[in-house]
C-alpha cells in the first residue's frame, strides 16, 4: 500500500510540459477580465448590489455586505485588473489569491446571485493559487529568471482536468431525468421562446427540436470527457465543445459559462499542444520541451490535500441523494452540484404573518422586501423562502408588532406543470432553522408530467 502510494506520488510529481496550463492561465484570466468588464458595462452593479434592501445570506457568511455603489464598481474594476495579472503571470500567486477571494466575496453577498459558473470560477481560482503556472511565459518569470521552468508537475494538469470533468459529468447526470429525456422540458419551453433567433429560428419552432437538443445535451455532457480524453476523438470532440457552447451562448443568457468551458476543455489536449499549434501556425518544427529534470515526488500532505479536494468535489454534487424527493423541486442539494439549466421554475409566494399576542394577520408580498429579480429567484427555493420568513419576523418585531408566526403560501410551477404548494402553508417557518437536515416543511413535488412540447391547434 505504501509502495503504491509512493508510486502514485512519484507519478503525480513527474514533470510534464507546462505549456497547456500556461495557455489555460492566460485564457482563463483573459476571459474573466473581459467578463468582469462586461459586468461593469451592463450596469448590473446597481440592481444586484445597490437596489436590494435585503440580501440572502450563506450560512456563516452573513457578515458579508456590499460596498457602496462606487465601492462595488471599484471592487469589480480591481477584480478585472487582478484577472489580467493572472493572465500575464504578474504577481501571479498573490493576484490569483486576491482575485479568488474578491470574486468569492461578491458571490457571497446574495444567494440569489448564485450561478454554477461563478462557483466554477471560485474553484478554478482556488486551484490556480496552488498551481505553479507562472514559471513560463509570465511577467514573474521574466523578472525572476530563477522561476523559469518549462514543466509543471503532472498533478497540476490532472487536477484541472478532474475539475472540468466533474462539471461535465454532473451536468450530464443532472439531465438523466424523465422531464429532460422523455418530455424534453424545460428545453421545450425555452426553445419556443427563441424562435425569433436569426438563421435558425424556424428550426427551433419544430416540435422535435427540443427532444433532439435534450438528448444531444445529455449525451454531450455525459460523454464529452471520454471523447476529449481519447486521442483519436479529441479534435472532433473539441469541435463539438465549441459548437455546443456556441449554441448555448446564442440561446441562453449564461454569461461566461460557454467561454469558461471552451477554455477549460483545452486541458484535455496533450500538455504541449500550444507548442504544436504554434509550430503549425509558424510552419516551424515543434521544439519539444526538456522534461529530463528529475521527478519531484508529490509530498504526502499534497496528495492528501488533492484527495480531500477531489473527494469533496465528487460527493458534494451527490448529496441530494441523501434527501427524499426530486431535487429540482426541494432544491436540497441543488447548489454546487452542476445541475445546469435543468429546470424552469416560477413561483408566487405570499407570506402570512400572525401576531402571537393579538392574533392579527397580515399578508406580505415578498416584493416589499426584494427586487423582482431576487423575488423570481427566491420563489422556487425553499431555503430562501425560509430565510426571508425569518427576516420578515425580525422586521415585524422591529416595527413593534412583537413576536410573530410566519407562514408561506408558495405556489410553484415546475417545467410548465400546474402550480402546487411548495411549502406546508400551516407550518410556522420561524420555528425552522436553515440547515442540512431534510426539511419536513417542504411538500412533495408534482407527479404529473410537465407541459407537453409542441403546438396543438391554430386558435
Amino acid at each position: 500500500m505504501t509502495d503504491r502510494l509512493g508510486q502514485l506520488r512519484t507519478w503525480l510529481g513527474r514533470p510534464v510540459d507546462g505549456a497547456s496550463l500556461v495557455a489555460f492561465r492566460v485564457l482563463f484570466g483573459s476571459v474573466l477580465a473581459l467578463g468582469l468588464v462586461r459586468f461593469l458595462l451592463t450596469g448590473w452593479i446597481r440592481p444586484q448590489y445597490v437596489e436590494p434592501g435585503f440580501f440572502f445570506k450563506y450560512p456563516l457568511f452573513d457578515w458579508v455586505r456590499p460596498w457602496s455603489e462606487s465601492g462595488m464598481y471599484l471592487h469589480y474594476g480591481v477584480l478585472a485588473l487582478l484577472a489580467l495579472c493572472v493572465a500575464a503571470g504578474a504577481g501571479y500567486r498573490v493576484a490569483a489569491l486576491l482575485f479568488t477571494l474578491g470574486f468569492a466575496w461578491v458571490q457571497l453577498i446574495d444567494v440569489t446571485n448564485y450561478l454554477n459558473h461563478y462557483y466554477l470560477v471560485v474553484l478554478l481560482g482556488t486551484l490556480l493559487v496552488f498551481l505553479p503556472l507562472n514559471q513560463l511565459a509570465s511577467v514573474d518569470a521574466w523578472l525572476r529568471p530563477s522561476l523559469r521552468r518549462a514543466t509543471v508537475p503532472a498533478w497540476a494538469l490532472y487536477l484541472l482536468r478532474f475539475q472540468v470533468a466533474v462539471v461535465y459529468v454532473n451536468a450530464g447526470r443532472a439531465k438523466l431525468s424523465a422531464d429532460w429525456l422523455l418530455h424534453a422540458q424545460p428545453l421545450g419551453i425555452w426553445m419556443n421562446a427563441r424562435t425569433g433567433t436569426p438563421l435558425i429560428g424556424n428550426l427551433l419552432a419544430e416540435p422535435w427540436i427540443p427532444y433532439v437538443m435534450s438528448w444531444s445535451g445529455f449525451l454531450f455532457d455525459t460523454l464529452i470527457v471520454v471523447f476529449l480524453s481519447w486521442r483519436r476523438t479529441r479534435l472532433f470532440a473539441y469541435g463539438l465543445v465549441v459548437l455546443f457552447h456556441s449554441l448555448t451562448h446564442v440561446f441562453f443568457d449564461i454569461g461566461l459559462f460557454p467561454f469558461l468551458m471552451t477554455v477549460g476543455a483545452l486541458v484535455f489536449f496533450p500538455p504541449d499542444w500550444p507548442r504544436t499549434l504554434w509550430a503549425r501556425l509558424t510552419r516551424r518544427p515543434a521544439s519539444p520541451v526538456e522534461v529530463s529534470s528529475p521527478p519531484s515526488r508529490l509530498p504526502a500532505w499534497g496528495l492528501g490535500a488533492i484527495a480531500a479536494f477531489c473527494l469533496v468535489q465528487l460527493l458534494l454534487p451527490l448529496r441530494h441523494l441523501a434527501y427524499d424527493g426530486n431535487v429540482l423541486w426541494t432544491e436540497q442539494g441543488m447548489r454546487w452540484s452542476w445541475k445546469v439549466m435543468v429546470r424552469e421554475k416560477n413561483g408566487s409566494v405570499t407570506y402570512q404573518v400572525r401576531s402571537r399576542d393579538s392574533g392579527r394577520v397580515w399578508r406580505v408580498n415578498p416584493a416589499q422586501y426584494l427586487t423582482l429579480r431576487q423575488m423570481n429567484e427566491m420563489s422556487g427555493q425553499p431555503d430562501l423562502i425560509l430565510q426571508l420568513a425569518h427576516h420578515i419576523a425580525q422586521d415585524f418585531q422591529t416595527r413593534g408588532v412583537g413576536p410573530v408566526e410566519v407562514r408561506a403560501e408558495a405556489w410553484v410551477s415546475l417545467n410548465g406543470r400546474p402550480p402546487r404548494l411548495l411549502i406546508d402553508p400551516d407550518f410556522d417557518l420561524t420555528s425552522a432553522l436553515d440547515g442540512v437536515l431534510p426539511a419536513e416543511w417542504i411538500l412533495p413535488g408534482p407527479d404529473s408530467p410537465p407541459l407537453a412540447v409542441g403546438r396543438r391547434t391554430q386558435p
Binding site: 450561478l115 438563421l199 479534435l235 413561483g347 407541459l451 396543438r456
Partner: protein, 397 residues
C-alpha cells in the same frame, strides 16, 4: 495526414451548419408570427380603442369643467358640478382599464421600450398630494402658462381633479404647521373664492388632461408616433423591440399591475392586511378617497386585465396558451379573473366603509385577486417563458 484528422470535425460542423441553414429559406416562423399577431391585437384591439375612448371622455370632461368654471363665477352650480363629476367618473372608468396598459409611451423609460412616463401625467396614484393641490389653489399656480410643464405630477391629472371636483368642504388637507394654515392664506379665502378657484383649477387640469390623453393616443396612432405598429412588428426591422418575445415580456410586465397595485396597494393596505397600514384598517388609504369609487375602479382594473389577456376577444394570451398546449390554464385564468370581479362586486357599499364593516368580504376579494395573480406568476410565466424586464439584470445557468 492532417487533412484526414480534421475532416471529421469539418464534416460534423458542416452537417450541423447545413441543418441550421436549411431552416433559413423557409417562410416566416409561425410562432413568431403568432406573437406579432398577438401584439398587433393588443395594440389595435386593446390599447388604441381604450386610449381613443379615454380621449373622448377627457374631451367631454373638459366641456363639463368649462361649464362648471363659467357657471361657478356667478353662483354655486350644483348641476354643472354633478355633470363634471359624472364626466370625471366616466373618464376615470376608462382610465382604470388603461392602467393595465403601462407599456410603450405610457410606461417608465427605465423599464419599457419607448417609455415616456405619460401615465403619470394622466394619473399618478399613489403619488398624490391633496395638500399640494390646496397650496397651488391658494397660490393660483395653475394660471401660470408653464404650470403643467414645471409642476410635479401630484398637482394635476385625474387624481388632482378628483380632489378638486369631489372635495367641496371648506377645509384643506395640509397640516396646521403648513404656511398655508400657519400663515392664514387659506383662511383668508372666502367660500366663493374657494369654489371659483377650485372650478378654475379643475378646468385647467381637465384641459391639460385632454391634451395629455390626445398626446398618448397620438403616440400610438398611425398618424402620430405609431407605437402600435412598432409593437405589432416587434423583432423586425424598424421596431425598437429586438424580438417579438421581448415585446411580449413587456406586455406581461404591465400585467404585474394586478399583483403589486390592485392586490397589494389598493386592497391589502386599506384592509389592514399589509403592514404599511399601521392601524387595524386604513380606510384613508383607499384609492378613490374623494369620489368613493375605489371598488368600481378595482373592478375596472380587472376588466382591463381580462381585455388585455384576451386581446379584446381577438387574438390574446388565452389563444397563445391554447397554442402552447395549456388550454386548461387559459380557462383557469379567465375564471379566476371573473371570480375576482364577482368577489369585488360582492363588497357592499364603498371600500372605505367595507374594510371596517365587511372585512370578510374584502379579505375574500383579496384572496380572489391573489388566486388570479398566483396563476399568472407561475404556470402562465413558465408556459410562455415570460420575463419581466427587471429580471434580466443577471446571467443564468
Amino acid at each position: 495526414m492532417s487533412r484526414s484528422r480534421l475532416s471529421p470535425v469539418a464534416r460534423g460542423l458542416l452537417l450541423l451548419a447545413a441543418l441550421g441553414l436549411c431552416a433559413c429559406p423557409k417562410a416566416k416562423d409561425p410562432d413568431d408570427d403568432f406573437r406579432r399577431q398577438l401584439l398587433a391585437s393588443v395594440a389595435n384591439n386593446v390599447v388604441l380603442p381604450t386610449y381613443s375612448e379615454f380621449s373622448s371622455r377627457t374631451a367631454a370632461l373638459k366641456t363639463a369643467t368649462a361649464a362648471l368654471a363659467t357657471a361657478t363665477v356667478a353662483a354655486e352650480a350644483p348641476t354643472e358640478l354633478a355633470a363634471a363629476q359624472a364626466a370625471w367618473g366616466a373618464a376615470m372608468g376608462t382610465w382604470q382599464r388603461a392602467e393595465l396598459l403601462q407599456l410603450g409611451p405610457a410606461g417608465a423609460p427605465a423599464v419599457m421600450t419607448g417609455g415616456e412616463s405619460r401615465r403619470d401625467k394622466i394619473y399618478s396614484w399613489p403619488t398624490v398630494s391633496p395638500c399640494r393641490v390646496d397650496q397651488e389653489l391658494v397660490a393660483q399656480g395653475y394660471l401660470a402658462p408653464t404650470f403643467f410643464e414645471t409642476a410635479l405630477v401630484n398637482v394635476y391629472g385625474l387624481d388632482a381633479l378628483e380632489y378638486l371636483l369631489f372635495h367641496t368642504g371648506p377645509e384643506n388637507q395640509c397640516p396646521g404647521t403648513d404656511p398655508l394654515n400657519a400663515g392664514g392664506s387659506w383662511a383668508a379665502l372666502t367660500a366663493d373664492q374657494l369654489r371659483i378657484r377650485r372650478a378654475a383649477y379643475a378646468d385647467a387640469v381637465a384641459g391639460q388632461l385632454q391634451r395629455d390623453a390626445d398626446a398618448l393616443l397620438a403616440a400610438w396612432s398611425p398618424t402620430g408616433g405609431n407605437f402600435a405598429q412598432k409593437l405589432a412588428t416587434a423583432g423586425t426591422q424598424g421596431s425598437p423591440f429586438g424580438t417579438a418575445q421581448e415585446a411580449l415580456d413587456q406586455v406581461f410586465a404591465a400585467m404585474f399591475y394586478v399583483d403589486l397595485t390592485v392586490k397589494d396597494a389598493k386592497l391589502a393596505v386599506p384592509a389592514g392586511l399589509n403592514i404599511a397600514c399601521t392601524g387595524t384598517t386604513c380606510p384613508q388609504s383607499v384609492e378613490s378617497r374623494w369620489a368613493h369609487r375605489s371598488r368600481e375602479q378595482l373592478v375596472e382594473n380587472l376588466q382591463g386585465f381580462r381585455v388585455l389577456f384576451t386581446g379584446a376577444d381577438q387574438k390574446g394570451f388565452d389563444d397563445f396558451l391554447i397554442r402552447r398546449n395549456a388550454p386548461e390554464l387559459s380557462t383557469q385564468i379567465l375564471q379566476a379573473a371573473d371570480a375576482a370581479v364577482v368577489a369585488l362586486e360582492a363588497i357592499p357599499g364603498t371600500l372605505e366603509v367595507a374594510v371596517d364593516a365587511n372585512p370578510a368580504q374584502v379579505a375574500a376579494a383579496y384572496d380572489a385577486v391573489k388566486a388570479l395573480t398566483d396563476l399568472v406568476k407561475t404556470q402562465f410565466v413558465t408556459v410562455l417563458n415570460l420575463r419581466v424586464p427587471q429580471e434580466g439584470a443577471a446571467d443564468n445557468d
